[in-house]
């Protein structure tokens, strides 16, 4: 409440060079930067440091150079499996999730459908539910030999599947659950993106006799390409860190044949069960690198010409 030393900040670059007018904005933004230093940057650097050490959390960390990384890449079959599991799962989830979401969003937005709000809400319900609850619900849907999903399958003449017991079906089971859980988030994002597509474009295309498919491919998708790219990138970042859903659905070890063991689960196991803190930190950095590479690759490959 002091006098006008804190002048009108956004309006003036004037001669008043008093540093005092900067005190308030710096104070206002300082919590984030303090928090980032303590809880973000420090752990990031500490993880880098730990990655070059062997440490069980008790005795002093032992410097081992690149040994952790070498072992991860060349000698740890479980790690390699967790990476391939995560990449395969990520791809299996991402593709149907985004395609379904786009089709549903285009359908809801098409002007042929009433009760848009109702449909949007219905598709959004799963995503507000916790992964733990979702996994518990799906645990009972998959069942063992029996279960409601197998009942549906056998009713239409298909064989029953031991969803959570066979290595071959664990990934599809996790995929189905994650697609169900997250598709609504992308429906809502695409619906928001579709608001930016000018109606005149569609009108003009209709006059030219373009069908719905042509309009989707030639107008909708190119116009919201940046939104699609954005969803691909955030989905990859999320999928590569997937933890809670498989952790609860098939258990901490990843189920039969470790078919559901993801990178984040293996990291958790190594760090907090085996107490190999240095080794797990190296894993964290390999994950970081993978996420960064895949995100950049996407932006490079698909980002061309969308901006």
């Amino acid at each position: 409440m002091t006098e006008s030393a804190l002048s009108i900040p956004h309006a003036r670059k004037g001669p008043r060079r008093s540093w005092r007018k900067y005190v308030a904005p710096y104070l206002f933004i300082s919590p984030f930067f303090i928090s980032f230093l303590v809880f973000g940057l420090f752990p990031l650097l500490a993880a880098l440091y730990l990655g070059f050490h062997q440490w069980n959390g008790m005795e002093a960390p032992q410097f081992v150079g690149l040994k952790n990384y070498v072992r991860l890449v060349s000698a740890d079959g479980f790690f390699r499996q967790s990476v391939s599991n995560t990449l395969v799962l990520g791809f299996m989830c991402l593709v149907p999730k985004l395609i379904l979401a786009l089709l549903v969003a285009v359908g809801i937005n098409s002007g042929l459908i009433l009760f848009k709000g109702f449909y949007q809400s219905a598709y959004f319900l799963p995503i507000i539910t916790s992964p733990v609850a979702v996994a518990i619900i799906f645990l009972t849907i998959y069942g063992q030999k029996t279960g409601i999903l197998n009942w549906v399958l056998t009713s239409v003449g298909l064989p029953a599947v031991r969803w959570l017991e066979e290595p071959a079906t664990i990934k599809p089971a996790i995929t189905l659950m994650i697609v169900w859980h997250e598709v609504g988030w992308y429906v809502v994002l695409y619906l928001a993106g579709l608001q930016a597509v000018p109606q005149e474009l569609y009108d003009a295309a209709s006059v030219d006799g373009a069908g719905s498919w042509a309009r989707l491919v030639h107008i909708t998708i190119p116009t919201i390409a940046p939104v699609i790219l954005f969803t691909v990138v955030i989905d990859i970042i999320g999928e590569l860190q997937v933890f809670a859903e498989p952790f609860v659905l098939v258990g901490p070890s990843g189920g039969t044949g470790r078919a559901g063991l993801t990178m984040a689960m293996y990291l958790y196991q190594q760090a907090f069960v085996q107490m190999k803190l240095g080794y797990a930190s190296a894993q964290a950095y390999v994950m970081f690198a993978l996420i960064a590479i895949l995100s950049l690759l996407n932006i490079k490959v698909f980002g061309r010409g969308t901006r």
Binding site: F28, P43, L125, T129, T146
Partner: protein, 291 residues
């Protein structure tokens, strides 16, 4: 609805019929998808109100039973559920309140002040969003241990009291919603910086605060990894961690487990359907800004 010019151009009968058919198919598909989205919630209620022995019956039970209360009792007997519920509420609400405050204040500063390095700092802030949480998990845990925060909610609350996405979102909203003239006028009247934020900006940006509140609350109410690592005292478990302990037991009591899940899920669904819905579009639009 049908603002396409198609209709006026050539509204032959076959075209209209084709359009009706298209609409029917579309309704069928979209409604089918919506039902698939809703069905697992219905199934959750069916399981929660039946004896565990019936869950995997062939054919499965398709209608809710009468044993919900019994399942709740068996749930309460097996884990400190009420305690976990309170813990989750306390944790999610506290983080939400703190985050709303710190994020909106920082968003206000980035939106309405000019100061050296402002844009650099903001870009830096956006960059930090790219750091995957899993990378810092181990050292974060060690840091919490070092602080003596194992089994303490401080470990879950303090590091999450302010975050980059919220600041980004509040800044975008504040920039558009709070008129500069209003701030100038307030300043000329001798209004201090904090008062300007709390008395002028806050009321205007309350819709954005609502959206951020919902997103933050959900994120922490649903969080598993953090509480799983920090809490090893069952009385300190959050709902997610407590429910997880019931999974994978040799004889999982599915009725009780599902009753606990209903408790964790249904209030959220009700709040969402009762009013939080309208914020969702806002969040989506917000996160697309700058795309």
């Amino acid at each position: 609805m049908t603002q396409t010019t198609k209709r006026s151009n050539r509204s032959t009968g076959s075209r209209r019929l084709e359009k009706q058919l298209k609409r029917a198919i579309l309704y069928f598909l979209i409604t089918g998808g919506a039902l698939l989205c809703i069905f697992p919630f219905y199934w959750m209620i069916v399981v929660a109100s039946r004896p565990s022995s019936q869950v995997f019956n062939f054919p499965p039970p398709l209608l809710p039973g009468t044993l919900f209360v019994e399942n709740v009792q068996s749930l309460l007997a097996s884990i400190p559920y009420v305690r976990a519920y309170g813990n989750s509420l306390f944790y999610a609400l506290t983080v939400t309140a703190l985050m709303l405050f710190f994020d909106s204040m920082a968003g206000f500063a980035f939106a309405k002040y000019e100061f050296p390095l402002r844009d650099t700092l903001f870009t830096f802030l956006l960059t930090t969003m790219m750091i995957p949480g899993t990378v810092t998990l181990i050292p974060w845990f060690l840091e919490m241990k070092w602080f003596g925060w194992i089994n303490s909610y401080a470990a879950l609350i303090v590091p999450n009291a302010v975050d980059a996405f919220g600041i980004f979102w509040m800044r975008q909203y504040t920039q558009g919603a709070v008129p500069n003239e209003l701030i100038d006028a307030a300043r000329i009247d001798g209004c201090g910086d904090f008062t300007m934020y709390s008395r002028i900006a806050l009321p205007i940006i309350s819709p954005a605060l609502g959206a951020l509140a919902i997103l933050t609350f959900l994120g922490h109410w649903n969080n598993l990894v953090g509480p799983l690592i920090i809490m090893n005292d069952p009385m300190k478990f959050t709902l997610t961690v407590a429910l997880r302990t019931l999974v994978g037991l040799r004889l999982t009591d599915y009725g009780a487990l599902m009753a606990g899940t209903v408790g964790a899920v249904v209030p959220i669904l009700i709040v969402y359907l009762a009013g939080a819905r309208r914020f969702v579009a806002g969040i989506a639009a917000g996160s697309l800004q700058g795309v």
